[in-house]
């Protein structure tokens, strides 16, 4: 059909897509082969590869996009039109194509992934957590980047599943190799939980591929190729799979342990991009492939999302461990994102995409800061930390900025996603959605409460001995790693169109049947 007119020729954009995966993979191989004596050089090389990848992720923004509105054939909706795509045969017997593409929904997340990986690699140059060699950690970060970028790029269901699985063992290794005291149990819990999610994804994906006869997301999106009952079953499987990854209450219990035990860079990558695979998958695959199923399950999803918001906030109010608190705050933030998705409206999903990116930036920053505080003071317990602003005013200022951004102050990135998730729920109307909107708004207020409590205990008051003895300054590499996050939090807060500028058309396609 329309693809006959738009058969992508093999050119620079296609090479770019392949390079986005090939560069970090090559980097990982090169870095892993460095001899032990050249550990620091290896980490620098890893940073180089990650930076090149980040620069490559910026390139598609300048490519010619929107090739036109070729809506040939009898389809009621405009087909999904990626800005750039490449489609190669890989394993015809399994119906697996190497079909990659970028559109407005995935692009912000791709840039975010490139950015956070580059920052984390740079961070490892200065500080390698105890447990293993720095070059192995850097190589694992690059492998993680391949998996995450692949998930966001994939336009083939089986390919999507494959990349979804790629991150599993490297993340396990990062937690188990470089984590805190209880790292083994936390890593095992993480890997078993997530594998349970991804086998459900496998079932869902294969049911779709068998039922529709194709795994091509461009063909499947918005088009009712599957029967109603198949869509219900598929959406149920996919929703649970992605809810584990996101994570959505009550499947979130792996998250606090994993975050608490993971090394700083592991937490940043986990919160910043790995969780996004769940929400992105729910939008792209769940809603896109099984719109009837999504419509059917939306109320349940909305209720769970709101429970997650409230539960996350209440748990955070009682939390005394710094990293654990931030981890539980992720549960609440992801609750807002899922509420946005559950409304199945363009506004709601735009809010979800904004919330995704904002959470990646802000929580990434928070984990960097929490990791630094924990490293310097030797404790993460709020009982032993107070008066940070007396001894380390700059660090305290950054924590204050990140906390205020995270609680959703207007003008910073966190505001838009949460506010518009509530707005979308109100717009959806009806007693259920209005109630959900009200409760979510109350949850937003609770979020403010626990972040202010965090600030009061951490930065105000008299310095404790552990805080006094900690070094106060912020090194150059730390500024380098944190400044982009601070600036982008401001930028997205002022101009959210940066993220959702080109999402209207793909989202209309995605929601074509559901509305």
């Amino acid at each position: 059909m329309y693809r006959d007119y738009l058969e992508p020729s093999w050119g620079l954009p296609q090479a770019l897509l392949i390079a986005l995966l090939a560069v970090p993979l090559l980097g990982a191989a090169v870095v892993a082969l460095f001899p032990a004596a050249r550990d620091r050089q290896a980490r620098l090389v890893a940073t180089g590869f990650a930076t090149v990848t980040f620069l490559l992720t910026l390139a598609p923004a300048f490519s010619s996009r929107g090739e036109g509105w070729f809506a040939y054939g009898g389809r009621s909706t405009v087909p999904l039109l990626p800005w750039v795509e490449v489609d190669l045969d890989w394993v015809p017997s399994l119906g697996l194509d190497l079909h990659l593409g970028i559109d407005g929904i995935s692009y912000p997340l791709i840039v975010l992934t490139g950015l956070l990986t580059a920052l984390c690699c740079a961070y490892t140059v200065k500080k390698v957590p105890d447990g293993g060699s720095g070059r192995t950690l850097a190589a694992l970060l690059l492998v993680l980047e391949v998996g995450v970028l692949g998930t966001f790029l994939a336009l083939d269901l089986i390919l999507f599943f494959l990349f979804f699985e790629v991150v599993l063992l490297p993340m396990y290794a990062v937690i188990a190799g470089w984590g805190g005291l209880a790292r083994r149990a936390a890593a095992r819990k993480f890997v078993l939980y997530t594998l349970a999610g991804s086998v459900l994804l496998l079932l869902g994906v294969l049911i779709v591929v068998t039922g529709a006869g194709t795994g091509d997301l461009v063909t499947l999106t918005g088009a009712a190729e599957l029967s109603r009952n198949t869509q219900y079953a598929v959406f149920a499987l996919l929703a649970v799979a992605f809810a584990i990854k996101a994570p959505l209450w009550p499947l979130h219990t792996w998250l606090p342990d994993a975050h608490t035990e993971a090394p700083t860079v592991g937490s940043v990558i986990l919160a910043g991009v790995l969780l996004k695979m769940g929400t992105y998958g729910l939008i792209r695959v769940g809603v896109g492939v099984a719109p009837l199923g999504a419509a059917w399950a939306a109320p349940a999803l909305g209720v769970l999302a709101v429970v997650a918001i409230i539960a996350g906030a209440l748990i955070c109010l009682r939390q005394t461990e710094l990293k654990r608190l931030i981890a539980y705050s992720s549960v609440g933030h992801m609750g807002f994102v899922l509420l946005g998705i559950a409304t199945l409206s363009v506004t709601g999903i735009q809010a979800a995409l904004l919330g995704n990116v904002a959470h990646g930036l802000i929580t990434g920053l928070l984990f960097f800061l929490a990791g630094t505080i924990k490293d310097r003071t030797g404790t993460g317990s709020l009982n032993q930390l107070s008066g940070l602003r007396e001894t380390a005013p700059r660090l305290a200022g950054l924590v204050g900025f990140a906390a205020v951004a995270s609680l959703g102050l207007p003008g910073l990135a966190g505001f838009w996603g949460e506010a518009f998730a509530v707005v979308a729920a109100v717009q959806r109307g009806g007693p259920l959605w209005t109630t959900l909107a009200v409760i979510a708004a109350i949850g937003g207020a609770l979020t403010a409460a626990y972040f202010l409590r965090l600030l009061r205990r951490l930065t105000h008051g008299l310095p404790t001995p552990s805080v006094t003895s900690a070094p106060a300054g912020i090194s150059g590499i730390e500024w380098l790693a944190w400044a982009p996050l601070v600036l982008l939090t401001l930028a997205v807060g002022v101009a959210p169109a940066l993220i959702i500028g080109d999402t209207l058309q793909p989202l209309t396609t995605l929601l074509g049947v559901a509305r």
Binding site: W90, V91, P92, S93, L94, G132, G147, I158, F161, L162, E165, V166, L168, L169, Y172, A176, G177, R184, A187, R188, V191, L192, L195, A196, V199, L200, L202, L203, L206, I207, V209, T210
Partner: protein, 501 residues
């Protein structure tokens, strides 16, 4: 009675395999040098593989009215070549043991080549009798190989190999008897033995044919160690020398799977096979969780893996390509895992280390406990990496892409044929299995706890207390080739799917 026309080109792989066995025997007799025997056997195995691939699809031979007994098809050629390659691989793994004199070389090579001949026969068999004769030829030399060993100095002699050998022998004989009874009943009900005409029995004999098919499947299920017919496997694997355990878990299992595939594709055995599959994977994985000895853990994991293959076979003919593809991915990964175990536990070094540490009792030179592997990946980075590829592949996760495609193939086939419930059980088992694969993988990278003394740099202490030891060259070569095959199939699984489609 007229004599059958025999097409000798079709039989070329068989001639090469049997010739290898005779060659090994003659070289042992006339040259009597270890290297010469091993090299000639290796050359014979490689020739067999080449012959199978070159002959490829050919005219069937040993034909009577109704069918042929020797059918060279594309899948058969691939399977025969795989048998030969596995034999060559196991020979490579045994090289250190042969050098240390732990096994008499001539006998070892002769028996291994005999077993390969059986495997080739199974691959090409066109009737049930040839199939069972091939399977017996494959298994018979293994009874001896399991128990055939001498002990390096200061290794603890034990009766475990003898026990293992005897258990294996008794169970195998009984299983063959059951399979033959099943075969007889099938023949009585249908009047055919040729696979090309084999079909469920017609009206008055349906029940008889069903019982026969079930007995046949049960008899063959012993060979793949399907639960509840699995009890011999862990004891036998653990008692056998590691390369022979590798052979049992790869070539011998492949033979059982090919035989089961031949039967399952033509007779109605879905009920028996699906019950066996569910039991096999669930029990295999759950028991593997509790294992503390390396080879036993691999044995239980290989039982569980057989369950996934049985699940594919339960579908009948449509499941056969998926089952065979899975089996090929599985045997390659399994050979890597056993190869790494053999490389990390050279009998001579283990015994010498025990002497050096003044161990009070002679030491156990087999696979050892899981704790014996703690931190070994730090000494041998490449062996560690190979083990990670093997274990992640068996768990069905990247970087073991071959295993991921194997899992996708089986689950995809199950869903496509409407066996969704079985697919659900398969994926639940994949989660259980990951728990122990991850445990072993992580153990390889964990520094041992030093008793009571806080250590600043555990890596340094470990390097001092654990001197590096070289990995024998044949072992390295075997592992390199196998790992290359696993990685190639991971990126281009279509090569394999083409061979079995």
């Amino acid at each position: 009675m007229r004599s059958q026309a025999v097409d000798h080109i079709a039989l070329l792989p068989l001639y090469a395999a049997a010739g290898t066995a005779i060659l090994a025997l003659l070289v042992d007799l006339f040259v009597a040098r270890r290297t010469a025997i091993v090299v000639s056997t290796l050359a014979g195995a490689l020739t067999t593989a080449a012959a199978a691939l070159v002959v490829g699809t050919w005219d069937a031979t040993f034909c009577t009215t109704g069918g042929c007994s020797w059918i060279p098809t594309q899948p058969a050629a691939v399977a025969a070549a795989l048998f030969a390659a596995l034999t060559a691989g196991v020979l490579g793994l045994s090289a250190p043991a042969l050098r240390e004199g732990a096994v008499p070389v001539g006998e070892f090579c002769f028996l291994l080549a005999c077993s390969m001949t059986g495997g080739v026969t199974v691959a090409y068999a066109g009737d049930l009798l040839t199939l069972i004769v091939g399977l017996e030829t494959l298994t018979l030399p293994l009874y001896i190989l399991v128990g055939l060993r001498r002990y390096v100095p200061f290794a603890r002699p034990s009766i475990r190999p003898a026990e293992a050998s005897l258990t294996f022998f008794l169970v195998s004989v009984i299983s063959t008897a059951v399979a033959l009874l099943g075969l007889a009943l099938v023949f009585a009900a249908t009047g055919v033995v040729h696979l090309s005409r084999l079909a469920p029995a017609p009206a008055p004999f349906t029940a008889l044919g069903g019982v026969g098919a079930a007995l046949l499947v049960i008899g063959l299920a012993f060979k793949v160690a399907a639960v509840p017919l699995h009890a011999w496997a862990p004891a036998t694997y653990d008692g056998a020398p590691i390369p022979i355990a590798a052979y049992l878990s790869t070539a011998s299992k492949l033979g059982g799977i090919l035989a089961l595939a031949a039967v399952a594709a033509r007779l109605d055995t879905g009920a028996v096979l699906s019950a066996l599959a569910v039991l096999t994977m669930t029990v295999g994985n759950l028991v593997a969780l509790r294992q503390t000895r390396m080879v036993r853990l691999l044995a239980w994991s290989s039982i569980a893996q057989a369950g996934y293959i049985l699940a594919a076979l339960a579908m009948g003919a449509p499941g056969v390509p998926a089952a065979l593809s899975y089996a090929v991915f599985f045997v390659i990964l399994e050979l890597i895992a056993f190869g790494v175990v053999a490389a990390l536990r050279p009998a001579g070094r283990v015994a010498r280390e025990a002497v050096a540490l003044a161990a009070p009792t002679p030491t156990d030179t087999d696979g050892g406990t899981l704790n014996d592997y703690r931190g070994l990946a730090h000494q041998h980075r490449w062996l560690g990496a190979a083990m990670i590829v093997a274990l992640s592949g068996l768990a069905g996760l990247p970087p073991g892409l071959a295993g991921l495609f194997a899992k996708v193939t089986v689950v995809g086939a199950l869903i496509a044929e409407g066996w969704t419930w079985l697919a659900v059980i398969v994926v639940i088992n994949a989660v259980i299995a990951l728990a122990y694969y991850v445990r072993v993988g992580a153990l390889l990278y964990t520094y041992p706890r030093s008793p009571g003394i806080p250590v600043v740099d555990p890596a340094l202490l470990y390097d001092i207390t654990h001197p590096r030891f070289p990995v024998p060259r044949p072992l390295t070569a075997t592992l390199l080739i196998t790992a290359a095959a696993a990685i190639l199939l991971g990126f281009a699984p279509q090569l394999l799917f083409n061979a079995f489609s």
